[in-house]
């Protein structure tokens, strides 16, 4: 990829009158603008849902009720989950895709710039629908992010708003995915074959297929919920001959691949960062591509491991148990490849690399606790305990979120034209990694001891570990203010970033100036 014959970007020519101010952002069809919008949206939502997490942890600092009442506590856990998944992790990865996919492919923009604008701008509408429900009669949804009936059939107006918001967010994801797949398949620079593509583009291509194959299923499930609520149908209402367990099957057919939608782009970012700071090409590129595809395919045949306790034949339990364990194989391939990339590399430990190494170590802990939960008889004991909460937070915080931090620090100099403050970046990293482990590691012990999730009060013997977790949560939460400060400071100014930014960086995005011009690759680069 270093043999780029013609890979410069043109600066803004001013051929057209560009709107300014708010109209620039409302009407923009530029992939970089839309990428920035996604990332800012995700950051705002991160602080909103993070505040909810701190309220949850404040309540759980002691047994008894201190800060919330039980219903408001349930609203907090539900909204925290919904917003973190649909409002933070997914939009943040869409932001990366918008910024980086065209730059990495040598494409001038996404395939459908106007649809790209729509895909973003319906998201804030969904977010408003979700947040407004806090002040409506009955408060926000309190039935869990999984939207199970009968709770979701019985709730008030906020449940309708949430279903509408989920529809909108799903539509946004489908439009975004169509754009990403079409861009990758049709708009690569001449000579850039699929197997020469940066791994980030591969992981997003596969993620986009996952989204197209699962979001319509979620849309179907919530549509049926909506008609059960408002039009007298009984899809999931047992009293009318419906089947609430069918909702769980349909929901998890969506939601298990969703887990990989939340982590495959993270794998892509880490696969860009580690080779750069190890100054070696990615070890086993082809196996990384095949492992990503294998994980995606397997993700469709494991869904019922989320529902071992609803009752199913032993043969079905065995099938879902072993198919789930099978996912550890391609995931292991990835972890070994990252380690092999670092092996005997000329490593340096800038902030993106620190987050990437933390990702490899801590995501693996989340992967292993997932294997524990895959064992059907163990899962029946641990189902809906804090062990599950510990597991998925290791996957989503030290996995997905840390990869987002790694990616932001890695590409921020390219986006802004300035280097970030390395000292502050390292402070952010160490406080995050220490805080995160203090919050979530004790939750393994709480779960093994039998503390159920989604409760505002608990038995006395769980107090110490809960207090430790709460202290960690506040360290982790407030350390994100350092991140905000670093980002704002980098946008405002700082040491000028060079074109290549990082000594070991490879790829088309490092051939355009820093900051990346408004329009890039209007003339296709040729990859030899």
């Amino acid at each position: 990829m270093s043999d780029v014959a013609h890979a410069h970007g043109h600066d803004d020519h001013g051929h057209h009158a560009h709107p300014t101010g708010i109209m620039r952002w409302l009407t923009t069809t530029n992939h970089k603008d839309i990428g920035s919008l996604y990332l800012w949206f995700a950051l705002i939502m991160l602080f909103a849902a993070g505040t909810m997490a701190l309220l949850i942890r404040a309540e759980l600092f002691q047994p008894g009720l201190q800060v919330t009442n039980p219903d408001f506590f349930n609203q907090l856990t539900t909204m925290h989950g919904l917003i973190m998944i649909f409002g933070v992790i997914m939009p943040a990865f869409s932001g990366f895709a918008n910024w980086q996919v065209p730059l990495m492919l040598g494409a001038p923009d996404m395939a459908f710039p106007r649809m790209n604008n729509w895909a973003f701008w319906i998201l804030p509408v969904a977010a408003i629908l979700l947040m407004v429900s806090f002040v409506l009669p009955g408060g926000a949804v309190a039935g869990g992010w999984t939207m199970y009936p009968p709770l979701y059939i019985q709730g008030g107006i906020s449940y309708d708003l949430t279903i509408l918001a989920v529809h909108i967010m799903g539509l946004s994801s489908i439009m975004g995915s169509i754009n990403i797949i079409t861009t990758i398949l049709n708009m690569r620079a001449p000579g850039l074959t699929l197997m020469k593509m940066p791994l980030f583009c591969w992981t997003w291509l596969i993620t986009a297929y996952l989204l197209i194959a699962t979001m319509p299923v979620l849309a179907g499930a919530v549509t049926m919920l909506l008609t059960d609520r408002n039009f007298g149908t009984h899809f999931f209402n047992a009293a009318g001959g419906g089947d609430p367990v069918m909702f769980q099957h349909i929901f998890w057919f969506f939601a298990h691949p969703e887990v990989y939608i939340l982590i495959l782009p993270a794998f892509g970012i880490i696969s860009q960062v580690i080779p750069t700071f190890a100054r070696k090409p990615l070890f086993g590129y082809a196996s990384m591509v095949y492992a990503t595809a294998s994980i995606a395919i397997l993700s469709f045949i494991v869904w019922a491991h989320h529902m071992f306790t609803v009752g199913m034949p032993v043969a079905a339990q065995l099938f879902f148990m072993f198919s789930t364990m099978l996912i550890a194989v391609p995931t292991g391939v990835k972890v070994f490849n990252w380690v092999a990339t670092m092996w005997r590399g000329s490593m340096t430990f800038e902030t993106p690399m620190l987050f990437a190494i933390a990702f490899v170590c801590l995501f693996t802990i989340g992967g292993f606790s997932g294997l524990v939960l895959a064992i059907a008889p163990v899962d029946i004991q641990l189902h809906d305990t804090y062990y599950v909460v510990a597991h998925f937070h290791y996957v989503l915080v030290s996995g997905a979120l840390f990869s987002i931090f790694a990616g932001i620090y890695y590409w921020l100099p390219k986006w802004t034209g300035h280097m970030y403050d390395e000292t502050l970046g390292k402070w952010h990293f160490w406080l995050s990694v220490i805080g995160m482990n203090i919050v979530f590691f004790p939750m393994h012990f709480l779960g093994l001891a039998g503390m159920p999730r989604r409760i505002p009060d608990y038995a006395l013997q769980f107090t110490e570990f809960n207090q430790i977790a709460t202290v960690g949560a506040f360290i982790f939460g407030f350390s994100q203010l350092i991140f905000l400060w670093v980002v704002l400071k980098t946008i405002k100014g700082g040491v000028k970033a060079t074109t290549k930014v990082w000594e070991g960086a490879e790829g088309l995005e490092w051939t355009v100036p820093s900051p990346a011009p408004y329009h890039t690759f209007e003339t296709a680069p040729v990859i030899k």
């Binding site: 020519h13 051929h15 057209h16 560009h18 709107p19 620039r24 009407t27 923009t28 069809t29 530029n30 992939h31 603008d33 494409a107 001038p108 923009d109 395939a111 459908f112 710039p113 106007r114 604008n117 489908i174 995915s177 169509i178 754009n179 797949i181 079409t182 398949l185 049709n186 708009m187 690569r188 620079a189 197209i212 194959a213 979001m215 319509p216 299923v217 849309a219 179907g220 499930a221 549509t223 049926m224 899809f235 069918m246 349909i250 329009h519 209007e522 003339t523 296709a524």
Partner: protein, 44 residues
């Protein structure tokens, strides 16, 4: 024309658009079909 219209024109001009409308239409049809299939699953 909107701010990014310029890059939209570039997409059209430089042949890299290829079969993008066909690709997008097939993906959208698949998504719609899956949505309807899910609803029919519920009707059983």
């Amino acid at each position: 024309m909107s701010a990014g219209g310029h890059s939209g024109v570039a997409c059209v001009n430089d042949k890299r658009g290829g079969n993008k409308y066909l690709t997008a239409a097939l993906l959208a049809l698949f998504a719609l079909g899956l949505f309807l299939f899910t609803l029919f699953t519920g009707l059983r």
